[in-house]
Each structure stands twice: as structure tokens, then as C-alpha cells.
């Protein structure tokens, strides 16, 4: 049984805007799945429909075998949602926010407090349980929404931009936390604008653009499609003119940095050998662009130019 099955899902808003034009998405149980797309592509609409915040126009949604039309309570029981925008009561203490959420899922108050303690401790917020939520920092507010989403122990966790606006240290600790949750069996759907986040965490991916799914595959298969990677090389010595290399075209960025495109048929060793033979040492190198980011941009641009996917 899949964690999520979406078939021919369409959404037309009252103003006539067609946000989803018949999308099909499947997410296997236990998967860590990335749902990516540019702003306005339809990601949030799709997530809104799955979590009952948006009414669909047509199509079918099933979560762990529960049909959204026939058994909405079954669907809702399986899902935990961490939305993009803060959506908790700013005038309520943190502990109560989490306990109340458990109560809405029918968990009695005593057990709700035990679970809230567990969730809040996992996210380093237990000490702040009596504090009003408005007093938290941005990163803590994001963690509060994760704690709240986990209190009923959902089988499917949907994270809509969970690390937006948080510093790199917190972001990395949240990545570890999400990976651990997934290892323990929770299926996770992640939308993010940090594509390195999706690349390092997710095993499968769907890319949505202009209301259509333009890619739905395994992450490694998708990355394999990338024919060229661009590297930035930091040179040991200053150069006044670009060296001529066979099969590689270099671009000078400044006196000590060059950019080079390496296609999938080429070896980076060949590049280093040629540079060494001309007496040029490389002190370090880095990808100019994240690999997934490069693919993502290619797809979005092709779609914009009307090229077939």
C-alpha cells in the first residue's frame, strides 16, 4: 500500500485560475519524498488538498488506503502537517498548543501532556512550554509546528518549507531530526527551496510546474540525467591568460579562479592531468551550482519555453 496516491487531481480557483491540471503522484510507505517546484507551481495547493485545507475540483486522493472523499477522518488521522506559514495562536502557551492539537485527534489530556513532553523535548522546546508562542524566535516557531504535527504520531508527515528562514545550524539539526524520523518509519513529503536539502534527504522526487508534474522519479536516476556539471577551481598561482585544454573549456573568473564544465563522458582526472602538465596547481574545487538545482532550472526553463519534457 502506498502512503499517498493522487490521481488526476485538478483545482480551479473561483477566479478561474487553474492551479492543478490533473496531477498523478505516488509516494511509497516509508519514503522520503521531495515535491519541488517554483513559486506558484501548485505545490501548496496540492498539499492543501491532501491535508483538507483546500477543496479539490476533481480527482482522487488516497492516504494509506483511505479515500479523501469517502473517509476524510481516516485520511486526516494519518497526516501531520507542518505548513509554510505560522498558523498557531500567538497568545497561547506553547505546551497548550501541542496538547490541544492532540486533543483534536481524540487523545485524552493526560496522555496528550505525556506526548507533548516527548515531542517538545525532541525539539528542545520543553523548557519553554509555559511561554507564549509569540515570544519564540523564528527557528523555534518552526520547531513548535513540527512538535505539534508529531504529537498524534502521524504515519505521513508533510513538511512545507520547514527550514525557511532558519540559520544553518538549526537547519542541519532539523535535517538530522527528519532523517531519524524517516528511519523510524514515518513517510515524509518535503517541499523546499533549498535544493541541496532535497538532494541530501530525499530518495524520490516529483517536480511540479505550472500545475503539471514535469518529473516523477528516483532522485539518483534524476541526477544521472544531468549531462554537465560546472566546477569552480581555485588555482595555486595567479594566471594572466587562460590555459588551453583539450576537451575542456575554461572561463576565467578572476586571477586565481576559473570555471570549467565537465560532461558526463569526461573524467575530472583528465582535467587535473592537463592542468598539472601546464604547471597549474589546484588548491580546491566546488560545484558552481547544486546538481539538483541545475536540473531543476533546466526543467523549469524548458517548460517556460514550451519544450517537451
Amino acid at each position: 500500500m502506498n502512503a499517498l496516491d493522487i490521481r488526476d487531481l485538478r483545482k480551479v480557483y473561483k477566479n478561474g485560475f487553474e492551479a492543478l491540471k490533473g496531477i498523478d503522484v505516488s509516494v511509497a510507505e516509508g519514503d522520503f519524498f521531495a515535491l519541488l517546484g517554483p513559486n506558484g507551481a501548485g505545490k501548496s495547493t496540492a498539499i492543501g488538498i491532501i491535508s483538507s485545507l483546500v477543496n479539490k475540483s476533481s480527482g482522487r486522493v488516497e492516504v494509506f488506503g483511505h479515500d479523501l472523499d469517502r473517509d476524510p477522518e481516516g485520511v486526516k488521522s494519518c497526516i501531520g502537517l507542518v505548513p509554510q506559514e505560522f498558523n498557531f495562536n500567538m497568545w497561547e502557551p506553547i505546551g497548550e498548543i501541542v496538547v490541544n492539537q492532540a486533543g483534536f485527534y481524540g487523545i485524552p489530556r493526560k496522555e496528550a501532556w505525556q506526548r507533548a513532553e516527548e515531542s517538545l523535548r525532541q525539539l528542545d522546546l520543553w523548557d519553554k512550554r509555559l511561554q507564549m508562542s509569540r515570544t519564540l524566535s523564528g527557528g523555534m516557531k518552526r520547531r513548535l509546528m513540527i512538535a505539534r504535527a508529531l504529537v498524534h504520531r502521524p504515519k505521513l508527515l508533510i513538511l512545507d518549507e520547514p527550514t525557511a528562514g532558519v540559520d544553518i545550524e538549526i537547519r542541519r539539526s532539523m535535517w538530522e531530526f527528519m532523517s531519524e524520523l524517516n528511519r523510524q518509519g514515518t513517510t515524509i513529503i518535503l517541499t523546499t527551496h533549498y535544493l541541496e536539502e532535497a538532494e541530501s534527504l530525499c530518495r524520490n522526487i516529483a517536480i511540479i510546474n505550472q500545475g503539471r508534474i514535469v518529473e516523477h522519479s528516483r532522485m539518483d536516476q534524476l541526477l544521472h540525467q544531468l549531462h554537465t556539471e560546472t566546477f569552480v577551481l581555485n588555482l595555486r598561482d595567479r594566471i594572466t591568460e587562460l590555459p588551453r585544454l583539450q576537451g575542456f573549456e575554461l572561463k576565467r573568473l578572476d586571477e586565481q579562479r576559473v570555471e570549467v564544465a565537465v560532461s558526463s563522458g569526461q573524467s575530472i582526472n583528465q582535467l587535473f592531468e592537463q592542468l598539472s602538465s601546464q604547471g597549474l596547481g589546484v588548491t580546491s574545487l566546488r560545484n558552481k551550482q547544486n546538481r539538483l538545482e541545475q536540473l531543476f532550472m533546466n526543467m523549469v526553463e524548458s517548460a517556460r519555453n514550451g519544450a517537451p519534457q
Binding site: E85, N87, N100, G103, F104, G106, R109
Partner: protein, 258 residues
Amino acid sequence: MTRYSRYWTAFRTIFTKELLRFTRIWLQTILPPVITTVLYYIIFGNLIGSRIGEMDGFRYIDFIVPGLILMAVITNSYSNVVSSFFSSKFQRHVEELIISPVPNWVILGGYVAGGVARGVMVGIAVTAVSLFFTDIQVQSYGWTLTVFTLTAILFSLAGFINAVYANSFDDISIIPTFVLTPLTYLGGVFYSINMLPQIWQQISLANPILYMVNAFRYGLLGVSDIHMGVALGIVILFIIALTGFSLYLLNRGIGIKS
């Protein structure tokens, strides 16, 4: 855990949340109606009322007691639900409920119970204050409590519908200011409709608050301008209609879903 025990827990959670919300800010929610009512008793009851004389066989201050208590119940049950539900829409934490497996009738029940709780609390406080100014003897506890509770339910439902349609804070003050207050003042709180010319008596019968004020006055004083069966029937009819409409709005997601 059975389905209905889950629903009961969800209902209690919404109700407790509502209860905590308005008791935490009792200076804004419980105290002001008590002070307003004291002022009514001093000015209309004692100062002006002593010159008016009797109305329907009662001292004027005794005559206005039922209306003033019910006015506090109406205003507070309405404003509790309208402000709480609109604020949950405004801050988007209504989404906590929408994504949870709580049926819409439980959500409605929880908010209405919160409104009734505030209406009842304020009503009790205002009644307690009344005892310092009047010495009324309750004629029928059954009628008094029934009308008291049904009125609080009805106006909690009305507040809920207002909140569903409201898109701004202005929208939640328009109905109380331009509809609720005039209807309450013209609903026989301060006078008997028998004092009015025939045509205005007929027009007054279109005001639903008139039936509640008179039914409540009957419970407390034993007098009413309206037949009690008609009054009760109208209140129950309104409750059924507003409940049905509120559930329709929730089921369609009007005002809360896109």
C-alpha cells in the same frame, strides 16, 4: 478508543480552550458587562425609574431586570464566538481544527458551548449584582433557565455565522453595532410593547429578541407581552435554522477553505 470517545475528547478540548481564553482576560470579558449593568440600575432604575412609577404592575427597576440580564447574555455569547472564531481564522490556527479528524458538528458544538459558558457566567454575575438593587422572586426556575440557555445558544450560533463571513475586524463589529444593539433595545428590555401604538406593536413582533426578553421576564416576574408557547417555539426554530446553516457553511468550507 471508540470514535465517539475521540469526538468527546475533541469537544472538551475546544470547550476548555474557549473557557481558558475568556477567563484569562476576565477584565475584558466578565467585568465590563457587570459595570454597565450597575450603571443601568443606578441611572434607569433608581434615578429615572423612581419617576416613571410602575410598569405591568412592577416597580420600573424590577421590570427591567430580566431584560438587562438577557441583554448581557446575548451580547456576551455572541461576541465570544464571533471574536474567537474570527481570530482563529485571522491567525490561521483554525487550520489546526480543519486538518484534524474532528467532525464539523463537534467544532460547532465546542465553539457554541464556549459562547454559552461566557453568556452564563456573565448572566450569573449580572444577576448577582441585580440582587443588590431589587428583591425579585423567581416565578419559574424552569422557564428562566430554559430561556437563559436557549438564548445563549442562539446568539452563539449567530456569532459563529458572523465570524465565518467576516474578512476583517470591521466585519465582526458591524452586526453587533447596527443590528444586535438596536434589536435588543427595541426588544422590550426597557418597556412593555403594550405602551406602543398598534402599528409599532405589530412591527415589534418581527423582532426575535422581543420573544426571548418576554419569555425570560415571564420566568422571573410571571408577566409577558407574548404567549409563552409562541416565544419558545420561535427561539427553538431559530436555533434549528442557525445550526443547519452553520453546519452547511462548515461542510462547504465557506470562509475557511479555498
